[in-house]
């Protein structure tokens, strides 16, 4: 600091101006930084601290070091629940990547061309994303209900009674079904992002390719797809972050216990039951263990994001 001031004194003029500008820049950042530190960084670190404590209620006071983590990985019950949740979350994420994002890319390509009713289709595709997850989750639970749901009524009417299953009541069906419902709801997000990317591709490139006699298929894979890569990366990382934090759709369709028999239990529902709500009928949370689960979720997310950063930097260096 003193060096800066003294150097400013020596060359009074251009340099001091630049220094001043630099300080102003920092000043503009300060309010946002304060908000970030108070409402995001501080609770995050407090949550990390909490994971080293144990006790009942909302003020765990007994310091236990890494015991919560040791229990989480060595106690058979915790381990089973935790790795179950990791597996289910990964499946949930994989289905979104395959279904939601592929469909998003397809829809974006269709919407990028001129045709009648394009705006209407764009609205239809995006509309579910504007609704509350609790609302759509509840509606889908009704649609899939084995007693009065539309799906099974239609199947029975079509004489396909053996196909009219209790969709949300089977361990092997519930998670894929809920993932598909969630993909349906959020497909508008990647669509819009991909559409923006496609709009940004210069028409001249496409025209040149067409003159050279490239098929639409070749244009997609040779021109559009490579140019969309950065956006695909962003969509992938957004999906990753959203899905590893997903809670509401499971809560709405399968309950906080991840019914049936914990088969839809995600990291966030496990965290909620452990750290916040407790389990029926006792309902006393174990906040220390909850914080440990949250911390591990954080580490998983951080690894994913760092990997993405590394990949995108390498890509941009190559390009």
């Amino acid at each position: 600091m003193s060096q800066m001031i003294s150097s400013g004194k020596r060359n009074a003029g251009l340099l001091s101006n630049e220094n001043r500008r630099r300080i102003t820049w920092v000043l503009f950042l300060l309010p946002a930084l304060m908000i970030y530190l108070t409402f995001m960084a501080a609770p995050l670190f407090d949550s990390l601290r909490l994971s080293l404590y144990t006790g009942e209620g909302y003020n765990p006071t007994k310091f236990v070091g890494f015991q919560n983590y040791i229990d989480l990985f060595t106690n058979p019950l915790w381990r089973e629940k935790f790795f179950g949740a990791v597996l289910h979350t990964s499946i949930f994420f994989a289905i979104h990547m395959v279904v939601q994002n592929s469909l998003g890319l397809l829809f974006a390509n269709l919407l990028a061309s001129e045709f009648k009713g394009r705006d209407l289709y764009r609205t239809i595709i995006f509309a579910p994303a504007t609704l509350s997850v609790l609302v759509t989750g509840f509606l889908w639970t009704l649609i899939l209900n084995p007693q009065w749901g539309a799906v099974n009524k239609i199947l029975v009417a079509m004489d396909l009674k053996q196909w009219a299953l209790p969709w949300l009541g089977r361990e092997n069906l519930a998670l894929p079904i809920i993932s598909l419902v969630s993909s349906w709801q959020w497909v508008g997000m990647p669509t819009v992002l991909f559409l923006a990317g496609l709009m940004g591709i210069s028409e001249e490139l496409l025209e040149a390719a067409r003159i050279d006699g490239a098929s639409e298929w070749a244009i997609f894979w040779k021109i559009k797809f490579p140019l969309l890569k950065p956006i695909i990366g962003i969509v992938a990382i957004l999906t990753f972050v959203d899905n590893f934090n997903a809670f509401d759709v499971i809560y709405a369709m399968a309950g906080a216990k991840g019914e049936p028999s914990y088969s839809t239990d995600l990291l966030a529902t496990l965290f909620y039951r452990t750290g916040i709500a407790g389990e029926h009928p006792v309902g006393i949370p174990n906040m220390g263990m909850g914080a440990a689960i949250a911390t591990i979720t954080f580490l998983i997310l951080m690894t994913g994001v760092l990997f993405w950063l590394y990949m995108s930097r390498r890509n941009s260096e190559e390009a």
Binding site: Y36, F39, M40, P43, L44, D46, S47, E56, G57, Y58, N59, D71, L77, L144, N145, P146, Q147, N152, A164, L165, P166, W167, L168, G169, R170, P230, I234, L238, V241, D242, N245, G255, A256, K257, E259, P260, S261, A268, G275, I276, A277, G278, E279, H280, P281, V282, G283, I284, M287, M289, A291, A294, T297, F298, L301, V305, W308, L309, S312, S316
Partner: protein, 452 residues
């Protein structure tokens, strides 16, 4: 490059938002609760000097559905003690235990509150949050020891006044029974035969499902257990390690669940408690095993046909026992500035006036005073009649001692629930389910590990 930086930043912000969102509710909760709870103690201070002291007490509860009935009860109390007003202030049931604990820890708890039975309530007493009632006049004369014991220490020191018990039974559609020539079954075989007759006639015999899990456990399995094991004495044998949790009586209970399976609705795996109630109310299923707390709901919804209740008959050679679950008691906050007024209210809870108000305003919730008032609701009266017809009554099987599993082990409630559902889904035989139940308990409950 700029675009990329923007994308990167937004992702980073998103990540941190998600993470803090995980941490937020915990720190928020106490802040949200403070204003409502602090209101009460503040008021009397303001009006301290003039005339008779005006006191407002808050009454915490998990019974969100019963606000209207409690307003009638507290109004009656206010009439008797004009200087004390009691405000019923319930919390959403799944959040009740955690919210109450937060309030008590931060000194903002209600003056009076519903106390859960056994371990959950005992913890609050041991932590000094619930006032001792050893000096409350009349408590030992008004209630039997069985009613008091879920809220008393081993030495018999009470800390809450028991107010509510719930019963269980089979609701049945009289019209459907008559149309198929079925009488109310008096043996388990008759019940199963009746179910078969109904199924053959294209009627769903039972409305129960397993999507919400708790109902199949609490209102089905725990209705069967007491008759099989021989009520309270039988339950003690398990708690003392004289019987193993995979004894033949327990296997028989799981077998009853297995017997019922063909008679549950199509897609019972995804049928929720709410769906079940609707199936019965709309006359789409002939019977539903449910708790007495549903009387009000069915009286409102099931209006198109005649219905009644019977108790699920015991297996051949077994005596009939009824699950009459002592569910709630009210205790006083030891830290309340109005402890004396709170004690006055607790004393009121021992009166026959209160028992009558409760029994008649909340049909299906039964007062626990020794002198049972005449209940005006016919179905509620039928439930009470089960008790006198049975050899004995007992609380739900797992509540005493078996819920307090240490972290990382399975409590009896969860284990029983998982195994009942496994039997219904044909993943386990009744014997395997009972063995798994025993193994879960043996892992932490010493008498189960040492059982004969």
């Amino acid at each position: 490059m700029q675009k990329k930086l923007f994308g990167l930043l937004s992702v980073l912000i998103l990540v941190s938002m998600m993470l803090t969102a995980c941490g937020a509710p915990a720190t928020e909760a106490p802040v949200v609760e403070v204003p409502a709870a602090t209101e009460a103690p503040a008021e009397p201070v303001a009006t301290e000097a003039p005339a008779a002291e005006e006191i407002t007490l808050t009454l915490g509860s998990w019974r969100v559905d019963d606000v209207a009935a409690w307003e009638v009860i507290t109004a009656a109390f206010h009439e008797e003690y004009p200087n004390i007003t009691v405000k019923f202030d319930p919390t959403n049931p799944p959040d009740y235990n955690a919210t109450l604990r937060t309030q008590l820890e931060t000194g903002t708890g209600p003056d009076l509150y519903f106390v859960r039975s056994f371990a959950t309530g005992r913890e609050l007493f041991d932590a000094g949050y619930v006032a001792s009632l050893k000096d409350l006049p009349g408590i030992s004369d008004t209630f039997t020891e069985a009613s008091r014991s879920p809220w008393a220490t081993e030495a018999g020191e009470p800390y809450a006044v028991p107010i509510i018990a719930v019963s269980h039974g089979v609701y049945y559609n009289k019209d459907i029974f008559a149309a198929n020539g079925i009488e109310v079954p008096t043996t388990w075989e008759e019940l199963m035969a009746a179910s078969q007759t109904l199924l053959d006639a294209g009627v769903t015999p039972f409305a129960n499902g397993t999507k919400d899990a708790w109902d199949i456990n609490e209102v089905v399995m725990m209705q069967f257990i007491p008759s099989n094991i021989g009520g309270y004495e039988g339950r003690l044998a398990y708690l003392n390690g004289e019987r193993c949790f995979n004894s033949e009586e327990m296997v028989a209970s799981f077998q009853q669940i297995d017997d019922m399976q063909p008679f549950l609705p199509t897609g019972f795996e995804a049928t929720s408690y709410y769906d079940s109630a609707q199936l019965f109310s709309q006359g789409l299923a002939a019977m539903m095993l449910d708790g007495s707390w549903s009387i009000g709901g069915f009286e409102k919804d099931a209006t198109d046909f005649e219905w009644g209740v019977f108790y699920p008959p015991a297996l051949d050679g077994k005596d009939q026992y009824v699950t009459f679950h002592i569910d709630a008691a009210i205790g006083a906050n030891a830290g309340s500035p109005n402890l004396e007024a709170a004690m006055t209210f607790l004393e009121f809870l021992e009166s026959s006036a209160f028992a009558e108000l409760l029994g008649n305003n909340l049909p299906g919730f039964f007062p626990l005073t020794k002198d049972v008032p005449i209940l005006s609701d016919p179905i509620a009266a039928d439930f009470m009649a089960f008790n006198s017809a049975a050899k004995g009554v007992d609380i739900r099987f797992v509540w005493e001692k078996l819920l307090a599993a240490p972290s990382g082990s399975v409590d009896a409630y969860t284990s029983l629930n998982n195994n009942v559902i496994a039997v219904l889904k044909d993943e386990k035989t009744p014997q395997e389910a009972a063995d798994a139940f025993n193994a879960d308990l043996a892992a932490w409950y010493e008498p189960a590990a040492a059982c004969k």
